[in-house]
């Protein structure tokens, strides 16, 4: 079972790495942010798999940190995007 879990971890990490090509190529900034979001979720799943495979419970705490961090990164991106858009062209138009 341990080797299966580790093989799945490897698979997920490869998937996330392929998804990160979107950050390089990205059609828009939103697409880049989506790739980072996938990195967050894939990283969470991979860490959980490793934690259970090796029987180390503490990994779940690392996972909690990562999940909060990924969410905050996306919120920070959207806030920065919003304020730069306001500065550039339409100062009066809110959402």
């Amino acid at each position: 079972m341990t080797s299966f879990l580790l093989a799945m971890t490897f698979f997920l990490v490869v998937m996330v790495a392929v998804g990160l090509f979107c950050v390089l190529r990205g059609a828009s900034n939103a697409d880049r942010m989506m790739a980072v979001q996938l990195f967050g979720t894939g990283g969470i799943a991979a860490l959980l798999l490793v934690g259970v495979a090796h029987g180390t419970e503490g990994v779940v705490d690392v996972v909690l940190t990562l999940s909060v961090l990924a969410a905050f990164a996306a919120v920070a991106f959207v806030k920065a995007d919003e304020s730069s858009a306001k500065d550039e062209n339409r100062p009066e138009q809110g959402s």
Partner: protein, 97 residues
């Protein structure tokens, strides 16, 4: 009993990995931003959910299992919020297509 739990784990985690594969392929191949967001949220919600579900029979204690479910619920909440925010940013950046 042990074998049944192991089979359940393998099936659930393989299904979860499939959703991650689908999410990555969708992110790379779908034509516009909103469809890519759709593909991504499948990986977030179902992929991680199935992986957590598959890991439950392997965890040592009930408490550890509950904590993993809690992580999934947190990610669900966060990804629902974040996908709304990203969609709004994408719509502001370019014309909706």
């Amino acid at each position: 009993m042990r074998i049944a739990a192991d089979i359940f784990t393998i099936v659930a985690i393989l299904t979860g990995a499939f959703f991650f594969l689908a999410g990555t392929v969708g992110l790379l191949r779908f034509p516009d931003t909103l469809t890519r967001l759709h593909a991504l949220t499948k990986a977030d919600n179902l992929g991680l959910g199935l992986v957590v579900l598959g890991l439950l029979p392997q965890s040592n204690s009930v408490f550890a299992g509950l904590k993993m479910i809690l992580v999934w619920l947190l990610v669900l909440l966060a990804s629902a919020t974040v996908s709304q925010l990203i969609a709004r940013a994408a719509r502001r950046d370019g014309p909706p297509s």
